[in-house]
């Protein structure tokens, strides 16, 4: 078998790559390891819970409405640490650049990284640069790794029946912004990526509320994240379609292209399961934050399995984990 693009698309096919890593003998350094397939690892060091995670970024185009590859590479790692309950402290940066890449553009990317780091007061403490010959790589790839410290560890498998499901804002913005600018689709309203670092917002929730489970719905989108949470927590989740926040521009783009907004990436959103009695107060905290203005309670957790959406038309359908590419099934 050969690696296909689907293997990196965050859908079910990616599982085949993940399976390869079961060959690694030691996957755990004492806390939460690779086997958990959570947003990051946890390593206990001297009475502290250190969160450690890494992410590589290859977005095309490099600059898109609302962000660029630099901002994503910082936010992705900050958010992964945050999703484990960690406060991000420091990041590394590994650059791989194609020979001939414009210095000025690289400067802009780095500047954008700095903005995102400053927003959350995180340091970039170490780095590495490799240049590959022309044609061996398409422009640039950025890897970041990061560490943080967690007082409370939050997993993606902690949902309990009765919990409310909250999303911190509109879904599908990043995916549609990037595909519109990559494919040069001219939608009536420009769609702007949501790429943002979430540690400030999430920690203000953690300060005064309980989060049972959380995850950032990046590759594979909300559909993938919510299914993973349901499966790992062994619960059923019921989502109400009319409560899912989706921008009208995203909705109409989705109706023109046949792409489900729930199946494309978000880069500045969090999906959390919280105790029902705290749902409203947590929602208010989120809404006060600039990245959580459109937050909404969209569902509930029950006993059972799978994710069911109660549709606006009064029916029910399953929200299924995307395969990577949509496959038609209508007769």
């Amino acid at each position: 078998m050969k690696i296909s693009l689907m293997h990196g698309a965050g859908g079910e096919v990616m599982g085949e790559v993940v399976d390869l890593f079961s060959k690694i003998t030691n996957t755990n350094a004492g806390g939460i390891g690779l086997e958990a397939l959570d947003d990051g690892a946890v390593i206990p060091i001297g009475g502290k819970q250190v969160v450690f995670t890494t992410d590589s970024h290859v977005v095309r185009p490099l600059f898109f409405p609302g962000g660029d590859i630099g901002r994503i590479s910082v936010c992705g790692t900050i958010n992964d640490i945050t999703m484990m309950g960690g406060k991000p402290l420091a990041l590394s940066c590994g650059l791989i650049v194609e020979e001939g890449f414009d210095f000025e553009i690289l400067g802009k990317i780095v500047e954008s990284m700095d903005h995102a780091l400053c927003e959350e007061n995180v340091a970039l403490v170490t780095g590495d640069t490799k240049v590959m010959e022309r044609g061996a790589l398409d422009q640039i790839a950025i890897n970041t790794a990061g560490i943080g410290v967690a007082d409370t560890i939050i997993r993606d498998n902690g949902l309990k029946p009765g919990d409310a499901i909250i999303v911190s804002g509109t879904l599908g913005d990043h995916g549609f912004a990037v595909l519109a600018s990559r494919e040069e689709f001219d939608f009536a309203d420009q769609i702007v990526s949501d790429v943002a670092p979430l540690s400030g917002m999430v920690h203000s929730v953690m300060k005064s509320g309980t989060i049972h489970a959380m995850k950032d719905p990046t590759r594979g989108g909300f559909a993938s994240a919510i299914n993973e949470m349901s499966k790992k927590s062994n619960v059923m989740i019921r989502i109400s379609e009319e409560n899912i926040p989706i921008r009208s521009s995203v909705r109409s783009a989705s109706q023109l292209l046949g792409i489900d907004p729930l199946e494309v990436a978000n880069e500045g959103k969090v999906v959390m399961g919280v105790p029902a009695e705290e749902a409203d107060s947590i929602l208010q905290i989120l809404k006060r934050h600039r990245y959580g203005r459109d937050a909404a309670i969209i569902g509930t957790v029950t006993k059972g399995q799978g994710v069911i959406m109660e549709t606006e038309a009064g029916g029910e359908r399953f929200i299924e984990p995307p395969m990577g590419d949509p496959v038609p099934r209508v007769c």
Partner: protein, 741 residues
């Protein structure tokens, strides 16, 4: 010379009046001994001089029975003083009970016999009629294992039950007004209406224009008179989809072109919905905007009584369910889901154990395999191992193979929502319970995301069964012909073995080895499933040029949206590739302005067929080409030809009808030509045809004509749906043959 024997009779011999039949024959021939049910079989101990004549009589069976085999074994011991019917035993399951059977003429007569015991009783039945599958919990078939268990028979019913001379001797469903299920009428806000004759009252309410939910044999119907159709459409939000009607036979004969065979089918013990051509294709368009009308006649005591009080010649009778969801069976569910849709509920107190929708038939071909047909038993040897076929996703059934027979379930529906998925699981559980197989093979569709595929995988973990994926269109052909053949599978969608979407396929071979020797031209579906909902996207996907753009601009498309569609196609962004015949017909319907949005399954193609009805087609050149080894019908050229003709005269209705007819006709000729060419080079002279598009009369007949002219025999399955209802059966056939290799 007295003879004796221990007799085992296998087949459909329970629920068909078989024990009373055996009893009567034994008495007639002075046979002593006993008869009892075991598992799904009937067993007899018999002693007597007329033993051989007795056996000869048994071979004839009862009207509803199907005898697979009669075995006679040695019997020792001395005979009892008489012949008797004994209590049932458990045992192996090779047979089955029959499907639900329409109320027989004798019972209808009883219902309308003044002063009779059954006068006016809605649930009158006998050994020859009444519910069977819909009320059974498990085998052997006896009252205590059916939904009738909570209705102990009164003295008079008990007398009839044990009277060998009575038609209700050992009729498990025997019941009367005193002891059986009763009717209840509820208002829209769930209050009971106290009324002496709920049926008569219901007839009055219907007559006044009310919409009433009526609980039937296998589920609820929503009923109203023709004048209320607009209101019903509004309440259901279903403005386009035709309704089925229940009508008096005389009215149906007056309004439709019904053949003698169709008339027989209409009032048979199956009593399905028969799709009939209207005499005037534009008449009754408040029921159906197509040239056809789906008709059935009253088939239960309740229906007969209702019509006896009704002045209207027909009632709209649509299954109570959202499209693709299972029919509602319980009153509670009806209360919840039909709020705001119906004004009254007419219900009864007999539980519906197994849901069963109305069957649908057209031109002798089964469209929906359900009440009266299913569970459908097919004799076919596929090896010693039990096989489960979990079906496709749309119009699904499931099939269980065991001991030389396939049992196909009633229509389940579109297995893509939690409700229907639950029904799929229930149906499999029910068949497993009735047949008790040791499932060692599970066959499923190749589509990785179908819920039926997912359930197959889940079940294989519990049962340790081997999974065998079966390509959708190969399952269609395996369900149609088990010998070597050229197979034509034409339908809407199926996952191909190359990962693209198939649906216009020509194979050569026999299960499990098929070569794909021909297909329609692979074309783009801009937006994937979106192109199925909006057929104009399909039109552009096949003909992405300026002329199509100009045409779409004259419709409701904006310049901006078209630009995005254009870019989507030129950049191949989310444009699945398909060889589907249904999508090509959709594109033609869109081109001709016949259907611009699909609101129910198959709508564009069905409307195209209706538009073409009555026009005689022109013969066009068949554009054939090759891709690799396969012959390919260039549907792009066909559609271009249609577009050229259309643009000459876009407002001429009769020209449009002519183009619609010619397009279908030449598409069918092209497909048939590929099949004949394939047959010639492989030396095969049988062509098998399956797939939902084969319901299109002109397409099916044209393929048949071309095949015949070239000396081929065309096989079309009359016992299974041509659409996806046959897939589970085909999966079992394919998997059974594969396992034997």
């Amino acid at each position: 010379m007295p003879k004796q024997g221990y007799i085992i009779i296998r087949g459909i011999v329970q629920g068909v009046g078989f024990r009373p039949f055996v009893y009567a024959r034994a008495i007639a021939h002075s046979i002593h001994g006993s008869v009892w049910n075991t598992g799904s079989e009937v067993r007899i101990n018999a002693w007597g001089n007329n033993f051989d004549d007795f056996i000869e009589d048994l071979k004839r069976g009862t009207p509803l029975s199907i005898i697979d085999s009669i075995e006679i074994h040695p019997l020792s011991g001395s005979p009892p003083d008489s012949f008797s019917i004994l209590k049932s035993h458990d045992g192996i399951r090779t047979g089955l009970i029959p499907p639900d059977i329409a109320t027989c003429p004798e019972c209808v007569h009883d219902i309308f016999t003044q002063g009779g015991r059954y006068e006016g009783y809605f649930a009158t039945s006998c050994v020859n009629c009444g519910p069977r599958y819909s009320i059974i919990k498990t085998l052997p078939y006896d009252r205590e294992r059916t939904a009738m268990d909570i209705f102990p028979p009164c003295l008079e019913c008990s007398d009839e039950y044990s009277d060998p001379s009575c038609r209700r001797h050992h009729a498990q469903t025997i019941a009367c007004e005193l002891c059986g299920p009763v009717l209840m009428l509820h208002t829209g806000d769930r209050q009971v209406i106290n009324v002496s004759n709920p049926i008569q009252r219901t007839a009055e309410l219907l007559e006044q224009g009310n919409i009433v939910a009526i609980r039937g044999i296998g589920g609820f119907h929503i009923a109203c008179i023709g004048e209320s159709s607009k209101e019903l459409k509004n309440r259901l939000g279903r403005t386009e989809q035709p309704f089925a009607i229940m009508a008096r036979k005389e009215w149906i004969k007056k309004e439709t072109m019904i053949s003698h065979e169709e008339e027989e089918m209409l009032q048979s013990e199956i009593s399905p919905i028969v799709i009939l051509d209207k005499k005037n294709s534009r008449a009754h368009d408040h029921i159906s905007s197509l040239h056809t009308l789906g008709c059935m006649v009253p088939y239960t005591g309740l229906h007969h009584l209702l019509f006896s009080h009704l002045k209207a010649p027909y009632l709209i009778m649509t299954s109570a369910n959202a499209p693709g969801y299972p029919m509602i069976t319980t009153l509670n569910d009806a209360f919840v889901k039909l709020t705001g849709i119906v004004d009254y509920y007419l219900t009864h107190t007999r539980d519906i154990v197994n849901r069963c929708d109305d069957s649908v038939i057209r031109n002798g071909y089964i469209i929906r395999l359900s009440r009266g047909f299913a569970p459908k038993r097919t004799k076919i040897f596929l090896g010693e191992k039990a096989i489960l076929g979990t079906g496709p996703e749309l119009n699904s059934t499931v099939t269980l193979y065991t001991h030389g027979f396939c049992i196909t379930s009633p229509h389940i529906g579109n297995v893509r929502n939690p409700g229907t998925y639950g029904y799929l699981k229930e149906t499999i559980a029910c068949l497993r319970d009735l047949m008790q197989p040791d499932i060692s093979i599970i066959a499923h569709d190749l589509h990785p995301q179908f819920l039926s595929t997912r359930y197959a995988k889940e079940l294989s973990e519990v049962t340790d069964a081997v999974l065998i994926p079966v390509q959708h269109h190969q399952a269609h052909i395996a369900a149609t012909c088990q010998e070597e053949c050229i197979g034509i599978a034409i339908d809407g969608v199926g996952y191909g073995s190359d990962g693209t979407i198939w649906g216009g396929e020509i194979f050569e071979g026999s299960a499990p080895e098929y070569n794909r020797v021909g297909h329609l031209m692979p074309v783009l579906m801009p937006g994937g499933d979106l192109a199925t909902t909006w057929p104009e996207r399909m039109l552009y996907g096949i003909l992405p040029d300026e002329k199509t753009k100009e045409l779409l601009l004259t419709r409701t498309w904006t310049e901006k949206d078209l630009l995005i569609l254009e870019k989507q196609v030129s950049r191949r962004f989310n444009t699945a590739i398909t060889t589907s015949t249904g999508r090509v017909l959709d594109a033609a319907a869109a081109l001709l302005g016949i259907c611009r949005k699909k609101t129910y399954d198959g709508e564009p193609a069905m409307k195209l067929e209706s538009a073409a009805f009555g026009s005689s087609p022109d013969t066009w050149e068949i554009p054939l080409t090759r891709i690799g080894e396969a012959q390919v019908l260039d549907t792009q050229s066909l559609l271009k030809k249609a577009r050229d003709l259309y643009l000459q005269n876009p407002f001429d209705t009769s020209a449009i009808k002519q183009i619609a007819a010619s397009f279908q006709y030449n598409l069918a000729r092209g497909i048939a030509t590929i099949a004949c060419n394939a047959g010639a080079s492989a030396g095969i002279n049988t062509i098998a045809l399956s797939g939902g598009v084969a319901y299109n009369e002109m397409i099916r007949k044209t393929i048949g004509d071309v095949a015949q002219q070239n000396g081929y025999t065309l096989i079309v399955n009359h016992d299974m749906p041509l659409g996806d209802g046959c897939i589970s059966f085909g999966q079992c056939v394919f998997a059974g043959k594969k396992d034997k290799l």
